[in-house]
């Protein structure tokens, strides 16, 4: 499916689910996301992460709401399943979408200014660099007798400093390879927006509406 349309679909459904309380629709969405993830060969490890993390938070939420004693059984079920809908749909999207294709699609199909599209991609490509930087900062601190934890402000101060440096470097890199803000560009690879994509988009949305309509009390 076209990445921009897929993103729009996921965001729209997530929004609708946030404002309605139909647990059956949530369950159907979970099952559909799961099936699609399985079809797309998501690894077991990734799948366990996507399950255990929301399980912890959803259980904690439900448990605390039960202790308060004001929430109905129905509401607890909605809250519990909603958490999984978000995570699984998000997981399905990230696991089946290549960031570069998404960037190209956002630029070509959604007409997002190329500055934002490539800015997003560059930030994505920085991830491994940020991880390495954090390891270096923590090692440098240990050598000085200081232990930095995830909550240490010094760690963030240093990472932000490094990120500011990278943003300058990245801007220079893009400029030196001919990128000019707002200037026209051609596209070596075009991302198709087919009528099939629109059909899937429309039918999925309609299916969710129907489900919500039937399920509403």
């Amino acid at each position: 499916m076209n990445p921009s349309l897929k993103l729009a679909l996921v965001v729209l459904i997530a929004l609708e689910v946030s404002f309605t309380q139909v647990w059956t629709v949530n369950v159907v969405l979970i099952i559909v996301s799961l099936a699609l993830m399985l079809l797309n060969h998501v690894t077991l490890k990734r799948f366990l992460w996507l399950t255990l993390v929301p399980l912890f938070f959803a259980s904690a939420l439900v448990w605390s709401l039960t202790l308060q004693g004001t929430a109905s059984q129905h509401f607890l079920l909605v809250i519990f399943t909603r958490m999984f809908v978000y995570v699984y749909m998000g997981g399905l999207f990230t696991q089946t979408t290549d960031p570069l294709t998404l960037t190209r699609s956002l630029e070509q199909n959604a007409k997002l200014p190329s500055k934002f599209a490539y800015g997003f991609l560059a930030a994505f490509n920085l991830m491994p660099k940020i991880q390495a930087e954090v390891a270096t900062i923590r090692a440098a601190a240990l050598m000085r007798g200081q232990e930095l934890h995830v909550w240490s402000p010094q760690l963030y101060f240093k990472v932000i400093l490094a990120a500011m440096n990278w943003s300058d470097q990245l801007a220079a890199a893009m400029t030196s390879h001919g990128f000019v803000e707002g200037a026209p560009r051609t596209h070596a690879i075009t991302v198709a927006l087919r009528s099939r994509d629109w059909w899937v988009f429309a039918l999925s949305l309609i299916a969710v509406q129907v489900g919500l309509f039937i399920g509403l009390p």
Binding site: L142, R144, Q146, Q154, H177, A183, T190
Partner: protein, 470 residues
């Protein structure tokens, strides 16, 4: 073909009183290979960035290409006018793979999509790296990344090619290969090439003009003067008279067993047994990009290695991180990686709190600050210090920590002659007083003789101890 003319260019950085470039006038002739030289920190990078349009010009008319300022050239044609190859290879890419970066550059030039694949193939073939086409950029070596960056410039067909110390982290064979390609671009395709380097060795065959940047002014030498200058240039010679081969009575501090570095695409160190000795000052030399810094990062557990590494007989992977970091520390090549605070005083206070405060008494620290010309800067913000001052502060902070083993990655980089003398004197005194183990990587070869007692050379992926050089 394009002639680069710089006319009455004055440029100063904010918060600095003296301009880096002062009423500078120079013309880089079209289709020629010009070499720009001068002391480090003298403004070479600044000038190149201004020419490339990466730093905005104070007055647009001061730099012109065949009489036209860059701002008047349409955006799609700018990269075809001038392009730059950076000093740090990994910082010049936006995309993930080689082919995607090439596509990105050509798209920016509004090249017809149908013509893009052929241009990419031609550029990669010209540089001879067709096999790198689908590789991830971040997994390439520094030399390969520079080749890719040059291939992109070839694909963009830029008239003026600027190179800012492009060989600072790449090995000699790659340097030669790149130089040959540059000369071909110059002679066969009429490109104007301006390359900044402070090391003048092995340029005599290639370079038409030497441009010397000094005190904010550039003097362009004639071909004859250029050749005289090249002939007079002698690179620093390594002279180590106190060095011996390791003897049996030395204590082993760090021991590598079948130690190897690198990954599937690139081996840096073939499996070997390596002993590093306690209470000695060991110098490690080797070509650029051969894996010296990678060895240091492995020794402080910041990088991968194969085989086993032990410290005092214990596997370093099994030692608690916190304790090990206090025993074996690294002075990073980049000074800013070392600092954790904002001002000089805070940084020193941190070292004094956890370091060896019986030796480094406040009086001694004050005395060292004076020797290093830092005494007047204690209240200053670290990041507003010059790179040389940062380097000296970094060294002082790590010396105060006084770990059993201190690894020094290019501790003299960017220091002027006087500072090198002071730093080496301090290093030698502290090493002898505290009986420290120092292991040093340095491209700066003069002034090391008093300190160094062992010399390890990294060559052809093997580290071997060397005898004294006369």
């Amino acid at each position: 073909m394009a002639t680069v003319t710089v006319h009455a260019l004055t440029f100063s950085y904010p918060n600095r009183t003296r301009p880096v470039l002062d009423d500078l006038n120079v013309t880089f002739p079209s289709g020629k290979f010009s070499l720009l030289t001068g002391v480090s920190g003298g403004g070479k990078s600044t000038l190149l960035k201004l020419i490339a349009g990466l730093t905005p010009l104070p007055d647009a008319g001061t730099i012109t290409f065949d009489g036209q300022p860059l701002s008047q050239i349409s955006p799609a044609d700018r990269a075809a006018t001038v392009a730059m190859l950076f000093q740090e290879p990994s910082t010049q890419f936006t995309m993930d793979t080689v082919v995607n970066e090439l596509r990105f550059a050509l798209e920016n030039q509004c090249v017809d999509p149908a013509a893009i694949p052929a241009k990419i193939t031609a550029a990669l073939d010209f540089i001879g790296i067709a096999d790198l086409r689908d590789r991830q950029l971040m997994q390439l070596s520094g030399g390969e990344q520079q080749k890719v960056a040059l291939a992109i410039i070839v694909a963009m067909d830029s008239d003026v090619i600027l190179l800012d110390e492009p060989f600072a982290s790449i090995d000699p064979p790659t340097r030669l290969a790149l130089l040959e390609k540059l000369v071909m671009l110059c002679t066969q395709r009429g490109k104007t090439i301006i390359l900044a380097d402070h090391d003048l060795s092995n340029y005599d065959r290639w370079v038409d003009h030497l441009a010397v940047l000094d005190q904010g002014h550039v003097t362009l030498l004639s071909p004859a003067e250029t050749q005289t200058r090249f002939a007079a240039f002698t690179p620093d010679k390594l002279r180590l008279t106190h060095v011996t081969l390791p003897t049996d009575d030395l204590t082993v501090s760090l021991q590598g067993t079948q130690l190897a570095l690198g990954h599937e695409h690139r081996q840096l160190l073939r499996p070997q047994d390596l002993a590093l000795f306690a209470h000695q000052a060991t110098l490690i030399t080797g070509p650029n990009g051969s894996g010296k810094s990678t060895l240091f990062r492995a020794l402080v557990r910041l990088g991968n290695y194969q085989g086993q590494l032990t410290y005092d007989g214990q596997d370093i992977r099994k030692l608690p991180r916190k304790r090990y970091a206090r025993q074996v520390s690294l002075m990073f090549q980049s000074a800013s990686a070392q600092f954790l605070n904002v001002t000089v005083a805070e940084e020193l206070a941190l070292s004094q709190k956890f370091g060896n405060h019986t030796y480094f008494t406040p009086t001694r620290v004050q005395d060292l600050l004076t020797q290093l010309n830092l005494a007047d800067h204690v209240d200053q913000i670290i990041y507003s210090l010059s790179s040389g001052q940062q380097k000296k502060l970094q060294l002082l902070c790590m010396l105060i920590m006084a770990p059993n083993v201190l690894l020094l990655d290019e501790p003299l980089k960017g220091l002027d002659f006087a500072s090198i003398q002071v730093v080496m004197r301090i290093l030698t005194t502290v090493q002898r007083d505290l009986n420290l183990t120092l292991i040093m990587i340095s491209h700066q070869l003069s002034g090391l003789d008093d300190l160094i007692t062992l010399h390890l050379a990294l060559d052809h992926q093997q580290l071997t101890y060397q005898e004294a050089t006369p």
